[in-house]
């Protein structure tokens, strides 16, 4: 039997006995960032495909909420910092090897873009809106003229934002559960899926809702594949990653992960969407809310379980 006992007074707050440096702020931000990335992705996609008339909610209505999502996410990120007055140091340098650095810069690009998308469609909510200032009017005209390049930039940066939320975790070799490159694609897919769910919730157009139910179904299938793939990778990897997978396979996070993330967050909404597509009447609020719930749970559970996974030495 091998035993290891730390006999010193190392009981550093937030480090021992289990790392807990990141709390609700990080997973909440990862969820909101992924959701905003998903919504902006679809808005830009249908502009590029010139299908804005077929998908009015995705292109015009849903982007209106993205500035709020990102601002709440940014506030959460700021709250997470231990040395808040120095946050601006993030924007004094770009460190290509640090996901947090280029993620911060990505947010610097995506947040203004989300404001542009919201501003261009503000008349959806306030039909009599007038910018009053000539500079803003001219800027609006300029944006409308250049909507295609803006859409291309948006779609690129929304993918970067979506994938970054996963890479943020996967860059940490020290936490074996996070140290898998599947997390990037998984978080991106989940972000797109929650984006599609939000569009379904806001849409009053039956055809658009069905189209997004179909898209969401495909994204859920990809997510289920990626999760399976992640566990296969863990089980075929080193001892520390086998231990990390065990957190979900009999360990303390088993029930919450399989019930809330995989069951209620993926399988049940997928089933309901299949029923809906086969012309049964399902209130759209149910699968869409479940997808959003699953998305937030996945980030919370992975954030906490990742901090519980460690090297055994």
């Amino acid at each position: 039997m091998k035993e290891e006992i730390i006999i010193s007074g190392r009981m550093n707050p937030k480090i021992d006995p289990v790392l807990n440096i990141w709390h609700w702020e990080i997973p909440l931000y990862l969820f909101l960032g992924g959701l905003a990335a998903g919504i902006l992705f679809f808005a830009a996609l249908y502009i590029i495909l010139k299908k804005e008339d077929e998908f009015p909610t995705a292109v015009k209505k849903a982007p209106l909420i993205t500035p709020f999502l990102l601002i709440i996410g940014l506030i959460a990120l700021l709250l997470d910092l231990n040395h808040k007055p120095y946050f601006w140091q993030l924007y004094t340098t770009i460190k290509i090897q640090s996901p947090m650095s280029w993620g911060a810069w990505t947010l610097m690009v995506v947040t203004p873009l989300s404001f542009i998308w919201a501003a261009l469609n503000i008349k959806e909510i306030f039909p009599t809106w007038d910018w009053n200032i000539s500079f803003l009017k001219q800027f609006e005209i300029w944006c409308r003229k250049n909507i295609l390049p803006i859409a291309w930039i948006t779609i690129t940066f929304s993918v970067i934002l979506g994938i970054y939320t996963g890479i943020l975790f996967s860059a940490f070799n020290a936490r074996p559960l996070w140290n898998t490159s599947i997390l990037g694609p998984l978080f991106l897919t989940s972000g797109l899926s929650t984006g599609a769910a939000a569009i379904m919730l806001m849409s009053k157009n039956h055809i658009e809702r069905k189209a997004f139910a179909r898209i969401d179904l495909l994204l859920i299938a990809i997510e289920l594949f990626l999760i399976t793939h992640m566990f296969m990778g863990f089980m075929a990897s080193t001892q520390v990653q086998i231990e990390a997978a065990r957190l979900f396979l009999g360990g303390p996070y088993t029930a919450s992960f399989w019930v809330f993330v995989v069951g209620l967050g993926l399988v049940v909404p997928a089933f309901l969407e299949v029923l809906e597509l086969s012309r049964r009447k399902i209130p759209v609020i149910v699968p869409a809310t479940l997808v959003l719930f699953g998305g937030i749970m996945m980030r919370f559970i992975l954030a906490y379980a990742g901090q519980a996974s460690r090297w055994l030495y």
């Binding site: 990141w22 040395h83 940490f172």
Partner: protein, 177 residues
């Protein structure tokens, strides 16, 4: 120049003098520590083997904390010593999450704090506080590029290991076994 430390696990008695010396020398806030003692017991009674290690930041050559720091607050200083610039640190915790040895902690004032190999003492030609105070003289500190330094000499003479070399961090804290 490449600073390194070696700890003799056969001589260390786990008295924690190094821990207290560090806390005093570096004004470590109460309840925190930059170095700590780990005791590993192997085997079943009565065949027991014990290994005692005084651990701290490994001042890795391939430091994940330096790599993932978004502002450059975590950096390599003289001789590869890994330090944190307090005024650049935003306290995001990325370096803390990236350290497989959990050698860093958030200082109550917000920035991230850790072992400095007592660079302020080393610059004056003194040894780090933990090394200087050790009653069994089980710690060796010096420049690995200098073949005559204490640490180079002892690493040539004795068998040693580093902690989790498979994490790829290239640690500079050696344990004599």
């Amino acid at each position: 120049m490449r600073y390194a430390m070696a700890v003799d696990t056969k001589k260390c008695v786990g008295c924690s003098d190094c821990v207290v010396a560090c806390q005093t020398e570096n004004n470590v806030p109460i309840g925190y520590c930059r170095d700590w003692v780990v005791e590993v017991t192997n085997g079943t009674y009565p065949q027991l083997e014990i290994e005692i290690r005084s651990e701290r930041c490994n001042h890795c050559d391939n430091a994940p904390c330096v790599r993932c720091c978004p502002t450059g607050a975590s950096h390599f200083s003289d001789g590869g010593i890994v330090l944190v610039k307090e005024k650049k640190c935003i306290g995001c915790g990325a370096c803390i999450a990236s350290c497989p040895y959990d050698a860093r902690y958030p200082h109550p004032e917000g920035y991230v704090d850790k072992c400095t190999f007592c660079l302020h003492r080393v610059k004056k030609g003194l040894q780090p506080a933990c090394v200087a105070v050790c009653p069994t003289k089980c710690m060796y500190f010096g420049d690995l590029d200098d073949p005559k330094s204490d640490v180079s000499v002892i690493l040539k003479k004795r068998k040693w290991k580093t902690l989790i070399p498979e994490a790829g961090t290239k640690p500079e804290l050696y344990f004599l076994i």
